[in-house]
């Protein structure tokens, strides 16, 4: 027997960055919102014992319990997909704030090139530059149109940074100055400048100084404690939904958060959603929450899974290239990097912050000429000082055995003498990279898991090689005594951590035939359903995604308010 609750204006599925921004913006304008979060409540006080590498970084304290739900993966359609039984390549957040709690805080704006990638690539290099199966398309919005929303997100989160000399035009400077330029960052900056590149301090959601945002939320400055990624911030210095947008939404009295509420279906009549069905995981009870507007703001995989399970939108068919739900799944090319070992210097690399870093964009987007290269786009290249914790960081120069006397001696010798320069390579969509429902494996309720079909392509191998070469050049200029770097990219491997930057599946665009949502992230096929997150990315850029997800969330909030008043398809 399903318990049916009174109707609300808006039901939000997943209370992370996107869900939190939607809740804050809509409740401020008087709409009633219910936020359903399958994980537990989280608050700053939870992180009293957070400096625990084993518990948080290696036992995944803040991540989704895979025994209840995971994904399945195969490299191509000829292989049987098998479940990701343990964490590796990416980490799925869980609980209030979602992945917005365990992120590093690196907050970029995708480049103007990203939003018009197909047009701009053809304009400069001709249509032949795009391989047959590469399904890049314009996003249905330009950087200039999205700029005010980037600005809004940055002010809300208090992003600390300085202008990117090769980035899109800004209407305002960052709300707070960049983080400290440490000796490690200085070394990179000097080397990059010598090489005539354009280094800048990485835009950071770890506050460089105390900050009060336009909503009146005050937060303290970052202490460089070095426990960001995979950890929650005990100071509230790292912007996350729990210390920024959620208290604003709650203060209106119009936002109700229900934790331990796992949504299984979006309910519909005809082409409109009527609400959602969820399970109260503390009692097992099934509950129906009717709503005028349904907003999906869970992580990429669950946004797609919920639509496919609910029969909303046209599922993607890789054979014909038609349909849109599950289309253009993309990831990232993270392995192009160089590690330098320094005999004469030691560094305070035990200290740091998730976003502490120095970046160049000379080899990102279309900031360089691709005429004689076998790939498009590129990636940001950065040195990061996020804090080298001792279990996970035992790099030894190539040739050192991986255990025993020599390993121990070298891993200790180089513990504070190792610096890495890494490329964050973009990821282009291909016709045969997609998400659908797995035919075999189920979650705790018996619903099918989402299935990823994905592998690296020649585009990725060439890009990784190119970024590696650039990283090595910088590391040489930095004066490393020995440099180890990637030899070849190899196949995509789900067992080693790369990034939690999965994208696509419910992509945005200007044409209902080739995209699932318009540029307000409103579904073409169900006008009262908005699907927000990196699911909307038509490809993945050479940066961390959160800044762009934040901007799109503010854009979507505006769309939802307008839809509530006027109805109909907004774009």
């Amino acid at each position: 027997m399903v318990k049916k609750l009174p109707k609300t204006d808006v039901v939000i599925v997943g209370v992370g960055w996107a869900g939190g921004i939607i809740a804050a913006e809509l409740t401020k304008q008087g709409l009633n919102c219910v936020g359903l979060e399958r994980g537990k409540e989280r608050k700053t006080e939870d992180y009293f014992m957070v400096h625990d590498e084993l518990r948080y970084a290696l036992r995944y304290e803040l991540m989704q319990d895979l025994s209840k739900e995971t994904i399945t993966f195969r490299g191509n359609e000829k292989i049987r997909a098998l479940p990701m039984r343990q964490y590796g390549s990416f980490l799925l957040g869980d609980g209030l704030g979602g992945s917005g709690v365990h992120w590093n805080g690196q907050t970029y704006r995708f480049l103007p090139y990203d939003f018009e990638i197909r047009s701009k690539t053809i304009e400069r290099y001709g249509e032949k530059k795009i391989p047959k199966d590469m399904t890049i398309q314009d996003w249905g919005i330009t950087y200039d149109e999205l700029e005010p929303y980037f600005d809004k997100f940055e002010k809300m989160a208090g992003i600390s940074g300085e202008e990117n000399p090769l980035g899109g035009k800004r209407s305002n400077p960052y709300p707070t100055p960049p983080m400290k330029t440490t000796p490690v960052l200085e070394k990179f900056k000097k080397a990059a400048t010598n090489l005539k590149l354009h280094p800048y301090n990485r835009p950071s959601a770890n506050l460089s100084e105390a900050y009060t945002n336009p909503d009146g939320v005050s937060r303290a400055a970052c202490q460089y404690c070095a426990y960001c990624e995979r950890f929650g911030c005990e100071y509230g210095a790292k912007a996350d939904p729990v210390v920024t947008v959620l208290p604003v939404a709650k203060k209106t009295g119009k936002f109700e958060i229900r934790t331990h509420s796992n949504v299984r279906r979006v309910l519909k009549t005809g082409n409109k959603a009527t609400g959602v069905l969820y399970v109260d995981t503390t009692t097992g009870e099934e509950v129906e929450q009717p709503a005028d507007i349904v907003v999906l703001t869970s992580y990429v995989f669950n946004n797609v899974r919920l639509l496919l399970q609910s029969g909303i939108g046209r599922p993607y068919d890789p054979k014909t290239g038609t349909g849109v739900i599950g289309k253009n799944y993309a990831y990232q090319v993270q392995k192009g990097s160089a590690t330098g070992f320094f005999e004469k210097e030691e560094f305070n690399t035990y200290a740091g912050a998730g976003s502490l870093g120095m970046v160049i964009d000379d080899f990102n987007g279309d900031n360089f000429d691709h005429s004689n290269l076998n790939f498009i786009h590129g990636g940001s290249i950065a040195i990061s000082q996020t804090g080298l914790r001792p279990i996970a960081n035992n790099k030894v120069p190539k040739g050192t055995p991986l255990w025993g006397k020599e390993f121990k001696a070298n891993s200790i010798k180089y513990a504070n003498r190792t610096l890495s320069v890494g490329g964050q390579g973009s990821s282009m969509p291909f016709r045969h990279h997609y998400l659908d429902l797995d035919p075999t494996y189920k979650d705790e309720f018996g619903d099918p898991l989402i299935r990823i079909t994905y592998d690296f392509e020649e585009q990725d191998r060439q890009l990784a090689k190119y970024l590696t070469e650039r990283c090595v050049e910088i590391m040489k200029e930095m004066g490393a005594d020995q440099i180890d770097s990637m030899e070849e990219l190899g196949p995509y491997d789900i067992t080693t951590y790369q990034s939690t930057h999965n994208t696509g599946g419910v992509i945005m665009g200007a044409d209902p035939n080739t995209s699932a949502v318009n540029n307000y992230l409103q579904m073409w096929d169900a006008e009262n359903v908005f699907v927000i997150g990196a699911t909307a990315f038509a490809h993945n850029g050479g940066y961390n995604p959160t800044g762009t997800v934040g901007a799109l969330s503010y854009r979507a909030a505006e769309g939802i308010l307008s839809y509530k008043q006027k109805g109909g398809i907004l774009a």
Binding site: L54, Y60, E69, G75, Y224, V243, T244, N348, W403, I494
Partner: protein, 250 residues
């Protein structure tokens, strides 16, 4: 050591003041969380002394939750070869790594309880990750038994009776998959042994390894510090480590 205690307290209150200043905690506006105040440890002198005396008296953690005595000795010997005592400092044995692994196997990690263990089980491609049906505690049982069998077959002696070179040879056979096992992967077991050795050497001492923070001291890792604002823009600075125990104020 009353002198030291006094000095520690002075440092504590200094760093507390410095922390309050540098974090800009005197802030107005909408409150977003109450952890800031409670995060700053206050030391209560009487408690400190009491707890210090107790911890000197006994360490009740030096007992086994899962391994048999024979398994425990083998894990002690094998992890010591992976991470041996040397001029830098203690090896796995003296760091308590075998106790760490034993304690970990008795909990979530040993049972793979937060991992997807539903059937059907198929052998997959390497890039698809672990697809076995058996859990870590069973992998250790089987791996250690096979380590013993291989030692007996090759050297006619049990693993802990072998000299260091022979032990290294047996472990190498596992690391390089030179032993043929039917139920588990020999290199998979070795890699698990290796990664849990590093975990035991470098995790917070609360988990029974990294004894007296000796693992951290060897590599000048400062452990669980609240703030690095004073050193982040400085040249390399050695800071004596503290553990999570200090966060509770005892």
């Amino acid at each position: 050591m009353p002198e030291n205690t006094k000095q520690e307290e002075k440092n504590e209150s200094l760093s507390r003041r410095r922390f309050l200043k540098s974090s800009g905690i005197a802030i107005g506006g909408l409150a977003v969380g109450g952890a800031l105040g409670s995060l700053i440890p206050f030391k209560e002198k009487t408690n400190v002394d009491k707890v210090k005396n107790v911890s000197k008296a006994e360490n009740y953690n030096l007992a086994l939750m899962y391994f048999t005595q024979e398994q425990f000795r083998m894990v002690e010997a094998a992890t010591e070869r992976i991470f041996p005592a040397d001029d830098n400092g203690p090896g796995a044995k003296d760091l308590g790594v075998a106790f760490f692994i034993d304690h970990q196997l008795s909990g979530d990690w040993g049972f793979n309880s937060r991992e997807y263990m539903q059937p059907p089980f198929f052998k997959g491609e390497k890039v698809q990750g672990y697809q076995g049906r058996i859990r870590r505690r069973e992998i250790f049982d089987i791996g250690l038994r096979e380590l013993q069998n291989h030692s007996l077959a090759k050297y006619k002696k049990g693993f802990i009776e072998l000299n260091e070179e022979e032990q290294d040879d047996i472990l190498s056979d596992f690391a390089e998959d030179k032993v043929n096992l039917t139920t588990i992967s020999a290199s998979g077991f070795f890699n698990m042994l290796r990664s849990s050795t590093l975990e035991g050497a470098y995790s917070d001492p609360l988990y029974s390894g990294n004894r007296n923070m000796e693992g951290w001291k060897m590599r000048n890792y400062p452990g669980s510090q609240m703030a690095y604002t004073d050193v982040i823009d400085k040249e390399f600075t050695v800071i004596p480590p503290v553990s999570l125990k200090d966060h509770l104020g005892h």
